[in-house]
């Protein structure tokens, strides 16, 4: 059986399955004809590790990713950018290639540089530039560029979106969606496939900037007749494109629509390192007078690592790393009892951070061995923190003189990622119907392989839904 997967990065179940369901007729019809439910994202619910988890069937502890960047070995604040070669576990298309089945993989995050597969690949927003070899096979690039009208018309991503005029941003996101569907429809029509999978990124980009125009409960809600339906209209655009695609699919195609995480309104950000400095956990030789990023502080030699027991990374979700002896370049915390007690102490401090008006926050702290397993456990953050269950973001920088801020040093932001994504499956054989519960991203790959008849050939953390 053929499988078509459309990923809508960051689509929020409370909106898509809730108040906007009637506005999205194609998605709504798929729900009625098939099965649907909220799907648990990875910890943390960030594009990477979430998509690699969905497409490998593995929890992030097996491939060692917790963000779009990763700490370079032997450093505290030098980062590498996530790329396809960092993910050592096989992904859906690698497995299918081995079984002689063809895949088309379009705009799936963490596929650059593209690798040889039995099929066709166009890489995603981590593609460096239009000059880069972003397709497999390499000659496919020429076709893709022709479809969009030439190299100058090719859109890798929508940049600098928080500094743009929101109306201009909205138009650019519409254009990006249209551009991506042009390529998707071309590939659908012209390339052979058993699995077709494509990811649309525009909703993720839109939510960070357009959320405040529709959500009246947002603390920074803005009344704007032109933008109030902006985010909804971007969903509708995808729904319309999807409708056109469904008509073109062979009748026996199983359809999956999913997102890697959701989104929710963000109130403030917690300045985690500022709190760790105040608690004596992160030691600075000198406090910065201006707001300064952690990397900059480290480069200037301001952090006294010999007296630091932990520090935090992460812009949306805090990732705490203990300065562990034997693992970190200047580690001081001894493994075992001391490591455990440092983690407990920090978890306790962060769980008890109150809101700006003294209100309690519903903060969740995950210890790494509770949420990850696998060969790469050692590189994962020792603690991951969802402040107020993700209604509060995080900040790495120091110098705010407050535990909260509205902005990062990069600018304001309306929404954080949510811990659930959407999942809809329409099976021509009707093996699954109605509302599904307890889904997780790791289930996606085993499900697809089961459907495609390659059951039992690989090991996964997830299980097939069928």
């Amino acid at each position: 059986m053929k499988v078509f997967i459309l990923g809508i990065d960051s689509a929020e179940p409370d909106l898509v399955f809730g108040e906007w369901r009637k506005e999205l007729p194609t998605i709504s019809q798929l729900m009625e004809e098939g099965a649907w439910g909220k799907i648990s994202s990875t910890v943390p619910p960030i594009t990477c590790p979430a998509w690699p988890s969905a497409f490998s069937g593995c929890n992030p502890g097996r491939f060692g990713l917790y963000d779009l960047r990763y700490r370079k070995l032997g450093t505290y604040t030098e980062f590498g950018i996530v790329n396809s070669r960092v993910v050592k576990v096989p992904r859906l298309w690698n497995i299918l290639s081995k079984h002689g089945m063809k895949s088309v993989v379009a705009f799936v995050p963490v596929t650059y540089p593209p690798e040889p597969i039995n099929g066709f690949m166009v890489t995603s927003f981590l593609t460096p530039s239009v000059r880069s070899p972003f397709t497999y096979p390499p000659q496919l690039k020429r076709e893709v560029l022709r479809v969009v009208g030439g190299p100058s018309e090719y859109i890798i991503d929508v940049y600098d979106y928080r500094r743009k005029d929101p109306k201009e941003l909205y138009e650019e996101l519409r254009a990006k969606t249209e551009h991506d569907f042009k390529v998707i429809k071309y590939l659908l029509k012209n390339k052979p496939w058993d699995l077709f999978t494509a990811i649309i990124m525009s909703i993720d980009r839109a939510q960070h900037t357009l959320w405040k125009y529709f959500d009246k409960e947002h603390p920074r809600f803005v009344e704007d007749p032109e933008l109030k339906d902006g985010l909804l209209n971007l969903h509708k655009q995808i729904d319309e494109e999807l409708s056109e695609i469904l008509e073109q699919l062979p009748k026996d195609t199983l359809v999956i629509i999913l997102s890697d995480h959701g989104a929710k309104r963000m109130y403030y950000r917690i300045n985690v390192n500022e709190i760790l400095v105040n608690e004596g956990i992160l030691k600075l030789k000198k406090r910065p007078r201006l707001v300064t990023g952690l990397r900059e502080l480290d480069k200037r030699g301001v952090i006294d690592w010999s007296k630091t027991s932990a520090y935090a990374l992460g812009a949306y979700i805090a990732q705490v790393f203990v300065n562990l002896k034997g693992r970190e370049p200047k580690g001081v915390v001894r493994p075992g009892e001391e490591y455990e007690s440092v983690r407990e102490q920090i978890a306790d401090i962060l769980r008890n951070v109150k809101g700006p008006n003294g209100e309690s926050l519903n903060t969740k702290v995950f210890f790494k061995e509770e949420v990850y397993k696998g060969e790469m456990l050692d590189v994962m953050p020792d603690l991951t923190v969802y402040f107020d269950n993700l209604h509060y973001g995080a900040n790495e920088a120091v110098g705010f003189n407050s535990p909260y801020s509205l902005e990062t040093i990069k600018g304001p932001d309306d929404s954080n990622h949510g811990e659930f994504g959407i999942f809809i499956i329409r099976d021509p054989e009707n093996r699954t119907k109605g509302q599904l519960k307890g889904l997780k991203l790791e289930d996606v790959t085993p499900t697809v392989l089961e459907i495609m008849g390659t059951k039992g050939l690989s090991k996964f953390d997830g299980t097939s839904l069928i």
Binding site: I46, D67, L68, R69, F79, G80, I81, N83, S84, R85, V86, Y112, P113, F125, L126, P128, S129, S132, D157, Y159, D160, Y161, R162, R163, R205, H208, A315, Y316, T408, K410, G411, D413
Partner: protein, 70 residues
């Protein structure tokens, strides 16, 4: 297990590798296993480092900063 092929290396290098294997206290069972390990190490490092040129890496970091991730 993937298919194996033969590779030629100078005899004196082979002898050195053999001595290393014998002294490895069982870490490597044969020269073949040792050579395979060393090659993998080198190649994996190479591929990870070569994904982005420094200019490309800066460009992507600039974009990720704009996306709010860095």
């Amino acid at each position: 297990m993937s298919e194996k092929v033969s590779v030629k290396i100078p005899k004196d290098l082979y002898e050195k590798a053999k001595k290393f294997v014998e002294e490895s206290g069982g870490e490597f069972k044969s020269v073949d296993e040792f050579v395979e390990f060393v090659l993998k190490e080198v190649l994996e490092e190479e591929t990870e480092e070569r994904v982005y040129t420094p200019e490309e890496e800066e460009e992507i970091k600039r974009r990720l900063r704009a996306l709010g991730y860095l």
